[in-house]
Symmetry: C2
Subunit: 312 residues, 2 copies
């Protein structure tokens, strides 16, 4: 308690980015989670405090995404029986919003241990430990939120297990408006409703859009990028979970957004925009559609976070 400790931040992220179901994510600058870490006498990871979670998160480190990720790092370093670390988790982003809340906590947990120990591991090496934390929340290793929250930018996940992730270039100016409507969608429900098979023609269309989206990022071609942002597989199946989704999307596109879809498994809706002014207009437009339906919402405006998680 007496020691000063270190503080880390891990950002929210947009999973899937529409066309990249289970394959892509992009980091926001805010919101995100903070963790304070300091050495403790008793070996192992101890969660001393959690705020902003409404008492819903366990403090047992084996059952907590941040705690588990922190433990995974400590164990990898062979220090779990030797060093004690105490964590305070300040959740500063909404739960169940589709913005990668559990991924941010897991990344912050792994980062916190590594930073407190003066970086024995490279940042990218933390990915697999953060994934162990994330697996507690999602039931399996999913890097499409964890990788961008850790590394920043827009990240393609070729394989979650290895993991094999590719940080893609981001055209300058790219801005995101994310609207989180205050409705509840359970990730499990959003997954369960997905049909187990995809018509071959839709597979081809979606794979082509994703591949061309990657090319658009490398070329900095926003026209192409906009043409690619058309999720023909997941969005049509999940849209019914979000009241007025298609009107919300229409409002974003009318404001000039390059594309608009569901963030992760929802209910947040994101609009990718060529600049901050368009993002602001798109965000307001989306919020006003929700408001007309009597749904309160939060708006987050952010450029793509190129830094990912950091110590501050």
């Amino acid at each position: 308690m007496s020691q000063p400790g270190i503080k880390v931040f891990a950002p929210a992220s947009i999973g899937n980015v529409g066309i990249g179901f289970d394959l892509m994510g992009m980091a926001l600058e805010a919101p995100g989670d903070e963790i304070v870490a300091r050495f403790a006498d008793e070996p192992g990871i101890h969660i001393a405090r959690i705020t902003g979670a409404g008492g819903k998160l366990p403090t047992d480190p084996e059952k907590n995404t941040a705690g588990k990720a922190a433990l995974a790092v400590l164990r990898h370093l062979g220090l779990a029986e030797k060093r004690g670390i105490e964590l305070e988790l300040y959740k500063k982003m909404p739960f169940g919003s589709g913005l990668g809340s559990s991924a941010a906590s897991a990344v912050a947990g792994a980062m916190a241990v590594n930073e407190l120990l003066k970086r024995p591991l490279e940042k990218k090496a933390l990915l697999r430990f953060a994934l162990e934390g994330e697996a507690i929340a999602s039931g399996s290793k999913h890097a499409d939120n964890v990788a961008p929250s850790l590394l920043g930018g827009i990240v393609l996940v070729r394989d979650h297990e290895s993991p094999d992730v590719i940080r893609l270039p981001v055209p300058p100016g790219l801005f995101v408006a994310v609207v989180y409507p205050h409705i509840t969608i359970r990730t499990e429900d959003a997954r369960a409703l997905l049909k187990p098979a995809v018509p071959l023609a839709l597979h081809t269309q979606q794979a082509g859009n994703l591949a061309a989206f990657v090319a658009a990022l490398y070329r900095g071609d926003l026209d192409l990028l906009s043409r690619c942002l058309d999720d023909v597989i997941i969005e049509p199946q999940r849209a019914p979970l979000i009241p007025g989704f298609y009107d919300v999307k229409k409002a974003a596109l009318a404001a000039g957004a390059l594309g608009c879809s569901i963030s992760g498994s929802g209910p947040s809706v994101f609009a990718l925009c060529a600049n901050s002014l368009i993002a602001e207009e798109a965000g307001k437009g989306m919020q006003s559609v929700f408001a007309k339906a009597g749904i309160e919402s939060d708006l987050f405006l952010s450029r793509i976070n190129m830094k990912g998680a950091f110590k501050f």
Copy 2:
């Protein structure tokens, strides 16, 4: 008959490149088709001669892929009633090999008219006319052979109708070995056997591999490129059409190929390699497996053709 005329060449191409079913193709330097074009007195397109086709191709320009593409250009220019053009088609590549034979003819037909008329159209603008020719052979507009044959390089086809094609960068040195075993697969049969739906998990895996393949080309990252070349949807369904396919593939990989799969709808098998020496080894290895099964084959070794079709 007295006029000298011009000569064009359009190359063979590898459709799909395994993971990019209906989405990607790459051009070879050889083989390919040649067309000689010269002005004729009677308006319209006239096919004066076809060699190398064993009498299997119609000379009616409306029913011939090269003729139809040529007509489409002439009509677009408003000259179909005014100018007469005579074509001689020299097919210099095997039919039904999965190497884009009809696409090469269609591209050559469109190129020939444009070159004879001293390039009223940009090369890329010929794409949609060549597609009209190709549609005669395949029943619908498919740009995954036409686009690389015309433009060269490795081409991603986001949309066949518009068409929306993206020429991808090619890492230097990349070489292809293509083995054409002398067996017959009808494109219609190869299409008909494909299951109409894809398990969601395989869609994700394949789309991730294709997107990462695009990133690998931009990064010049051959290790990543190699990890991506794993077609989990189409290859397993079509492999039974090619006797010994998996042994052929094993031979290519044992020789150091980055990846190996079926070219287009087969029966040709391609191996993508980091250089010409590996390609040569891979090619010989693949041929010897076919030979052991009593199947004769042709081997084509080629770098990626970056130029596409040309006048010579």
